[in-house]
């Protein structure tokens, strides 16, 4: 199972004075089981790219296919396959609209013509998935929940569609550090269940470094880097800088210490890992 993007270009406002090439000959393949991080500054084309992955936008030229089915086709097969790619937009809680949490999450399965029993099963399962207790929250109004809870309801609505690929656009925007930690540890847990591949768009390099197995850097409508996150953060600083993206704060601090002449574990993803390595280094010195 995979998403194949082949030589995709996309032009906004073609033929008008505002014509803008948002994607320029992008080719890439996202495989089952991957956790792909996509980064790039505002306007780099990353949102345009992810909207192609479930057929919300169709390429001006080139093709996007999921499991071999071209998303631009008008067949029932093509529309069915689009449900396999679930999309969680930025600030998804703005899209909540139903009277109760359960009804809101049921909206997707109902549209897929699930039977009532099946819909309820999916709603319960999706709520469990995002850590919302069914008995406590099912009958509550989604508009009286906290920001973090509303966001989880919105994500549950996408999970209830049973996607094979889950796309999340800045899922932590506007959340406090603990909300951010919670949402990312949950994403990590979902990913570990092996139920779906994850495509994560984020400005938070820390989270990308910790979670993604693969990183794609977008700039000027092109995928300018594609590889392992740490390799990109450590060996492609020039291109990252040109692309207007940062490296994780921990990597930045460790690089500074290295410049000062200290031996550091540059590829550390967690602060504790770096602290332990620095401590070990100090211990070795003390004994010799």
């Amino acid at each position: 199972m995979s998403i194949v993007v082949e030589k995709v270009s996309y032009i906004y406002g073609g033929g008008t004075p505002y014509e803008k090439k948002a994607l320029d000959q992008v080719s890439l393949e996202i495989h089952e089981g991957e956790f792909v991080g996509i980064i790039g500054h505002t306007g780099s084309g990353k949102s345009t790219l992810i909207q192609h992955l479930n057929g919300l936008l169709h390429p001006t030229s080139g093709t996007v296919s999921v499991n071999g089915v071209d998303l631009a086709e008008k067949s029932t097969e093509a529309s069915a396959i689009r449900h396999k790619v679930g999309m969680v937009f930025q600030y998804p809680e703005h899209q909540l609209f139903e009277e109760t949490v359960a009804k809101d999450i049921a909206f997707g399965p109902n549209n897929l013509h699930c039977l009532p029993d099946e819909t309820e099963r999916r709603v319960r399962e999706a709520m469990k998935f995002v850590g919302l207790d069914y008995d406590t929250f099912a009958e509550r109004s989604p508009f009286r929940l906290s920001g973090g809870q509303m966001r989880r309801v919105a994500i549950a609505g996408v999970i209830a569609l049973h996607p094979d690929f889950l796309i999340l656009d800045e899922p932590s925007a506007g959340l406090d550090p603990i909300g951010r930690r919670e949402i990312f540890s949950q994403i990590r847990q979902w990913y570990k269940t092996g139920r779906f591949s994850v495509i994560l768009v984020s400005h938070n390099m820390d989270d990308i470094a910790r979670l993604a197995t693969r990183l794609i850097v977008m700039n000027c409508g092109r995928a300018v880097l594609d590889g392992s996150p740490m390799d990109i953060f450590l060996h492609h600083r020039d291109i990252l800088q040109q692309s207007g993206v940062d490296v994780p704060p921990l990597t930045k601090t460790l690089e500074y210490l290295q410049e000062r002449g200290i031996r550091v574990p540059l590829a550390a993803r967690e602060t504790e890992e770096a602290a332990q390595a620095l401590y070990d280094e100090w211990r070795t010195r003390g004994t010799c």
Partner: protein
């Protein structure tokens, strides 16, 4: 001359919820802010920090206690307009704050409403746009600007009111790293070069660490108040509250705990380097 920008005296704020239930969003907060200070306010979602910010220009009034802005009580109705002109607010979403179709008209909106004569409006708008580095965009449509640029236009709109203080409620939450940097540089310049008092509500600890002072709000109470160094040395308390600490502070704290004789309150990479070099320099 009043030297205090804000004198917050035992302020509590209770919201009426459905079915007659009450919710105390702020409990007995006392705090003073000097003119020219740059104070960051941190706390988790729902801690009350935005509620506090909205008290600072009388968008919300205390249900108990009093708040003085340059000596003027928010409880006296005749002070209201004066206070709102002295204290400008900038919010999270730039798209919700911009009203006009051209950048300079948007900035002119405030002074026009104050009844400032046209010639002076021109001066104020030009000067405000210059201070946020947006003069080149004065004839542009705000819709065509980046998030960081829109926030700078929003700040210019506030500056055109000639305030003594700017309160920014998570101004960078919706911006990418480049936009975040733009806004923070602008705010720091206003503080350093013009002595503007700044209150910055933020979830980003790397922004808070650049302030003169940090107030930590939790469950509606002021739980810590001090310089970044005084605050961020409380790594475990902050983590328990659900907050972060900047990387150098976190790393030096962990190294100290492991038994390496280093100071545990490094705020910058440079301080951490200075602390570690004598112990760990490559031979």
């Amino acid at each position: 001359m009043e030297s205090l920008m804000f004198d917050i005296r035992h302020v509590s704020h209770t919201f009426e919820m459905e079915e007659g239930k009450e919710y105390e969003a702020l409990s007995d907060i006392s705090l003073t802010v000097k003119k020219g200070e740059f104070m960051a306010v941190i706390g988790t979602n729902g801690s009350g920090k935005s509620t506090l910010a909205r008290h600072m220009n009388a968008l919300l009034l205390p249900t108990r206690g009093d708040l003085l802005v340059e000596g003027m009580s928010v409880l006296k109705e005749e002070n209201m307009w004066n206070i709102r002109q002295k204290v400008g607010m900038v919010f999270q979403n730039p798209d919700n704050q911009i009203v006009a179709a051209v950048v300079e008209e948007d900035v002119a909106f405030g002074p026009e409403n104050l009844g400032v004569p046209p010639v002076q409006i021109r001066e104020r708008v030009d000067h405000a746009l210059e201070r946020v580095g947006m003069t080149a965009y004065r004839k542009h449509s705000p819709a065509m600007l980046s998030g960081g640029q829109k926030q700078r236009v929003a700040i210019a709109g506030v500056l055109a009111m000639h305030p003594d203080c700017i309160v920014l409620d998570e101004p960078t939450a919706m911006l990418d790293p480049a936009g975040r940097k733009e806004v923070m540089t602008t705010v720091h310049d206003l503080n350093h070069q013009e002595g503007m008092t700044v209150i910055l509500i933020t979830h980003f600890m790397e922004e808070a660490v650049t302030a003169d002072r940090i107030a930590v709000i939790q469950k509606g109470r002021l739980v810590m108040d001090g310089t970044p160094r005084e605050i961020f040395r409380h790594v475990s308390e902050l983590t328990d509250m659900g907050l972060d600490v900047p990387v150098p502070a976190d790393l030096s704290y962990r190294l100290g705990n492991k038994g390496i004789p280093v100071r545990r309150d490094c705020m910058t990479d440079q301080e951490l380097g200075d602390a570690l070099c004598p112990l760990l320099l490559k031979k």
